[in-house]
Symmetry: C2
Subunit: 433 residues, 2 copies
Amino acid sequence: MTLAVGIGGAHSQQFAAESFTLGNGLQVVVLPNHRVPAVTQMVWYKVGAADGPRGKSGIAHFLEHLMFKGTKAHPPGVFNTLIAQHGGRDNAFTSEDYTAYHETVASEQLDLVMRLEADRMTGLVLDDAAVSSEREVVLEERRSRIDNDPSALLREQLYANLFLNDSSRLPTIGWENEIRKLGTADALAFYRAWYMPNNAVLIVAGDTDPAEVRRLAEKNYGPLPAGTPPPRLRLAEPEHRAPVRLEMKHARVPQPSWRRYYVAPSYDSGAQHSYALQVLADILGGGVGSRLYQSLVLKDGIALSVNADYSPSALGMTVFALSATPKPGNPITDLEKAIDRELHRLIEQGVEPDEVRRAVQRMQAAAIYARDSLAGPANIVGAALATGRTVEDVAAWPERIGAVTAADIQAAARAVLIERNSATGILLPERTS
Amino acid sequence: MTLAVGIGGAHSQQFAAESFTLGNGLQVVVLPNHRVPAVTQMVWYKVGAADGPRGKSGIAHFLEHLMFKGTKAHPPGVFNTLIAQHGGRDNAFTSEDYTAYHETVASEQLDLVMRLEADRMTGLVLDDAAVSSEREVVLEERRSRIDNDPSALLREQLYANLFLNDSSRLPTIGWENEIRKLGTADALAFYRAWYMPNNAVLIVAGDTDPAEVRRLAEKNYGPLPAGTPPPRLRLAEPEHRAPVRLEMKHARVPQPSWRRYYVAPSYDSGAQHSYALQVLADILGGGVGSRLYQSLVLKDGIALSVNADYSPSALGMTVFALSATPKPGNPITDLEKAIDRELHRLIEQGVEPDEVRRAVQRMQAAAIYARDSLAGPANIVGAALATGRTVEDVAAWPERIGAVTAADIQAAARAVLIERNSATGILLPERTS
């Protein structure tokens, strides 16, 4: 299947995708782009932090680290060395819903990086010494990224308190006390349960063509056996009865800040509102023209910054987020009241068709820029396919965003910006009393 | 093994326990009490709400209801009819850690009620019609006990927000949206996994003797096969970073109220503090002589009532709870400040040896009264054995409580009454604006 995807006109060739599936169930998407003689390979596994067993938070991310520990065919260090020798780059990342590995190399090295990824899809070898030392690396990563960052700490607990039920509540990197107990057997059990060609998506973007990708994919990944991955369990939220408030004081906080998360539907759990919520986020907090910026930063002068964020690519429920930093001297309660006033006005009176039109244009333009790279489209398609959507859904995004109306946005705001479904966090400098 | 348990002197015969284990692993405890010619049989299963699979909250309680749906030998209705015909009473209850079934009958019917309990330990027969109609009964129970009671709703969410990790966070009766999806297969899978003689405790209290109980237990329960129950998973809590606050307004709230829960160790997870915390709860909020009552109700006159509560019988973590109702016209913020002042004073200055002595005497006396019935001692022993303790632990309770010192209590208060490990809930009448 080939899809020419774009906003139209001059851009229509920027996002041509061809996809096919190997006999063992590996889904392959090719995104040709011939501007530089390089290719990016990404292998996305349809498993993430929220798929871990109870009490093993962080296992998906830990396994991501351990995937660089070598196989029988490529002992520890060989993978990175081979890629570096050829001037390539490689890395990996884990979210609550997926785990992805990627390499960018000269086009003629596609065969090599496919061989390496295919090898470690089923051939990972772990021993306790390697697992123990990597656990220290992950604990250090947690310390530097979360424990030393008050904002990250507040975000982590706010998530855990916002969701009453779903595993989205748990941190992707894992709770520190649980990371400490992850062992070789845990990692291998998770690996064997989830890593298999029929639970993965291979994306190749760049200076190649579908026929070549198919030939190399058949050669390298074709021989791997299919398996039976577990079902992916995402729990519905029970009715929330009261909004949650957290106030955290921390010595390393230079100035107060405010944020609020609402439980929100994703593409997966609530297609009805997921496009309108994207436009809503832009209208509320997308840059200097947005309602909250105009009102709080420019008109009232009580905020230094304000932001709205919504990521619809998730299995189960996701988050609609607002955040703001008060101008020094302005109490955070005034800031919160002003935000609530704007939300109330939006929910009661809706938005102007003109605001919608401008937001949609801005978002469509931003999407074009995002697609102007090897990694951009590959990331978009990978996240989509790993969370239950299709290449067609990605292709239809500009059109679906373009179809959002002012009435859709008001309905989405009414459905989602409900106080009792929210968690509000306030970060304050430690009182120096 | 026979244990004569009591405070001593005249009471030493009130709590004589004999225990033994059948060949299939069924633990049996006999608590002879000859004041009336009746016996209470209790069968405690070492499985509760916190042992349910993800997404199936309420399954343990639902199964408790379904256990009255009949077996091949005793079709639906026969169980209750037989017991009622003999003038007996029977019921059941579920907690996060155990599920118990009990009958009180004339002593000569012990054989009958053993036959009935043994039969349904492995012989339960369910069909979809019975399961569907019972699901409606449970949903109605949830509506009347939780959904129609603002205080219960707040408590439910406060638990879910207090614990970041463990399944203690989930309501024993289950989230409404998950109860709706529980089916016959879920109930039978849970039943088959957990209901077996070696995962149960049989307690017989009343007008019988150990030899007779042993003979009847061997006859009725002896033939049942042992099985392999799953491990009971209780998760440690990660570090909490900020206290949680919930404020719930509800039309059915007649007057404001305040409560706060702290994550606290149980006997199982923190033996070090679990006895001192019981005395602490009594000193803080146990009746009109307690610190909070004296200070807030009598001296300051700002509260109508105040209470402290701590239940150490749990697997994993449990809760140390404070609650109070302000005197009409007194703001809840003043009440909270006054409570915080008392907690601060206790943590900083400790308690008086004399307060400890009086609290311990009061608690030991209350324990004697609680034991003065068929059901009292059976309940205490059952809850203990279902949560990892022994009959010896129960026997040693008066002595261990008696050994708690003022220093122990201050240390326990310092370890547990930590703001960031708490969740505070405020219940307010709906504003009539």
